[in-house]
């Protein structure tokens, strides 16, 4: 028979499991994502009593997941991509017709889900995390700041830069696709 603690844990955590697995998968392939989810749940269960009533459960779980992933990356000595100091170049957007809102809308629409995911994965960790948490997980800046232990102002600037870099990647991807199509037609 389940204890009250178990029932509460199930009630509050179960609704988020699929999304949490999705969030983990966006950081790595299948097996690692499931491992991370498993460890996240273990820690969540251990620290469940510390979850405050007004706290958003999903943001709390994402914060644990983020730490689990960070520790795993350190443990595995995987190379952590550092954020470049430079922002996406204004010159690129000014000189590229595909950066105009109309063509860019078409670009965004035409990309497949896996192409979008690849473009997100290619971002440096600092940018990928905020873009994912905001645009995919739809967390508020306050929640992202809580998950990543960052000031809200930093969340905002990283998100601005991350989206610019992501837009640049997608535009380049589209340009490359067009080149490939052209060469096939020739």
């Amino acid at each position: 028979m389940q204890s009250r603690r178990q029932r509460n844990f199930h009630r509050q955590v179960s609704p988020w499991l699929a999304r949490l697995l999705g969030a983990a998968r966006r950081q790595a392939g299948g097996a690692a994502a499931e491992d991370w989810l498993q460890e996240t749940l273990l820690r969540a269960w251990r620290d469940f009593d510390q979850l405050e009533k007004e706290q958003a459960v999903y943001a709390w779980l994402l914060k644990i997941l983020d730490r689990v992933i960070a520790e795993d990356i350190r443990r595995e000595s995987r190379r952590c991509r550092l954020a470049p100091v430079v922002n996406a170049d204004d010159g690129f957007f000014e000189s590229c017709p595909g950066a105009e809102p109309g063509p860019f809308a078409e670009t965004v629409k035409s990309q497949t889900e896996s192409q979008i995911n690849e473009a997100i994965e290619s971002l440096a960790d600092e940018y990928r995390k905020v873009v994912t948490l905001r645009d995919i997980e739809e967390l508020s800046y306050r929640e992202i700041a809580y998950v990543l232990d960052l000031p809200q102002g930093t969340v905002m600037s990283r998100l601005s830069r991350g989206r610019r870099l992501l837009a640049q990647r997608l535009i380049k991807l589209e340009m490359h696709d067009d080149d490939v199509q052209l060469s096939r037609n020739e």
């Binding site: 603690r5 178990q6 844990f9 199930h10 955590v13 179960s14 499991l17 699929a18 999304r19 697995l21 999705g22 499931e34 491992d35 991370w36 989810l37 498993q38 460890e39 749940l41 273990l42 820690r43 969540a44 269960w45 251990r46 620290d47 469940f48 009593d49 689990v68 795993d72 443990r75 922002n87 204004d90 957007f93 000014e94 950066a99 105009e100 809102p101 860019f104 809308a105 965004v108 889900e113 979008i116 995911n117 873009v131 905001r134 645009d135 995919i136 997980e137 739809e138 508020s140 800046y141 809200q152 905002m156 600037s157 998100l159 601005s160 830069r161 989206r163 610019r164 992501l166 837009a167």
Partner: protein, 272 residues
């Protein structure tokens, strides 16, 4: 209209405000900040385009969060949360537990009992003769799985039809040059089913156990050692015990002190 190539104050302001455009798009600015941004947008075509691109990206990406799971994946998540909430919270250590129980992997098909058979002499390998008289096993502390394999090693008697070069029909979890599997059987380790293998290595007889993940990673000492060293070693009286992670389970090896193979000799067929 200003252009972003202008030098001086305008360019600095442009770069500064560019970092706030996400906040503007997401409605995260206060009224004063919004007014400043809107004043800038009125004169900056580049930032207006940036805002539009950010809006388009946000709209597109929010659809990425849809996760559709198959029935089996749903079941896996159910088992995972059941398994997690079935543990005692104080027993969950801070060590990364990619090394821990994964309910979805536990449901592996156990190999049926296969006995090596062969041409040669039937050997009665009475392990109790090799290691006599010790029924307690100090050093294993409160690690039930270690207690179990040590106890079995000390007490079991195997009636083995020894096959000269070992049996190629039996694949143990771990092998090394010169090791020959003699037989395998099912047993219980840490309260869960486990597959045992008797292996001859030189003049020694060793036992190997493929142990359920939930059992293997249950003890914090073992987990900590696996996380830091990749293996857990224990010498208990005149026996050596070695714990090694393998995909989907764990392996325990037990044999006389000094008989276990060196780390660089080990081959793990399951990992290749």
């Amino acid at each position: 209209m200003n252009t972003i190539n202008d030098n001086g104050y305008w360019a600095q302001l442009h770069i500064h405000l560019q970092d706030r455009l996400a906040g503007y798009v997401d409605g995260e600015l206060d009224a004063e900040q919004r007014t400043v941004i809107e004043a800038h947008l009125a004169g900056c075509r580049a930032c207006r385009a940036d805002v539009k691109r950010q809006q388009l990206l946000h709209q597109r990406l929010r659809n990425q969060s849809q996760v559709s799971l198959s029935a089996s994946q749903d079941g896996m998540l159910d088992r995972m949360i059941d398994g997690v909430s079935g543990t005692r919270p104080e027993h969950v250590s801070g060590v990364f537990a990619a090394l821990r129980v994964f309910g979805h992997r536990i449901a592996r098909v156990r190999e049926p009992l296969v006995l090596a058979s062969g041409w040669a002499v039937a050997l009665l390998l009475a392990v109790a003769i090799v290691i006599t008289g010790h029924v307690d096993h100090p050093g294993s502390g409160s690690i039930p799985m270690v207690n179990d394999v040590v106890a079995e090693y000390r007490n079991i008697e195997l009636d083995i039809h020894h096959q000269g070069g070992g049996s190629d029909r039996i694949t143990p979890p771990v092998s090394w040059p010169g090791s020959h599997v003699l037989t395998t059987w099912q047993t219980q380790v840490g309260g869960a089913p486990a597959q045992a293998y008797a292996v001859r290595s030189g003049r020694y007889l060793l036992f190997q156990y493929r142990v359920d993940e939930g059992v293997f990673y249950r003890n914090p000492r073992v987990r900590a050692a696996l996380a830091s060293e990749g293996r857990f070693d224990l010498r208990s009286d005149r026996l050596d015990v070695l714990a090694l992670p393998v995909p989907g389970s764990g392996v325990l090896m037990v044999g006389p002190a000094g008989s276990l193979p060196a780390a660089n000799q080990l081959q793990n067929p399951a990992a290749t």
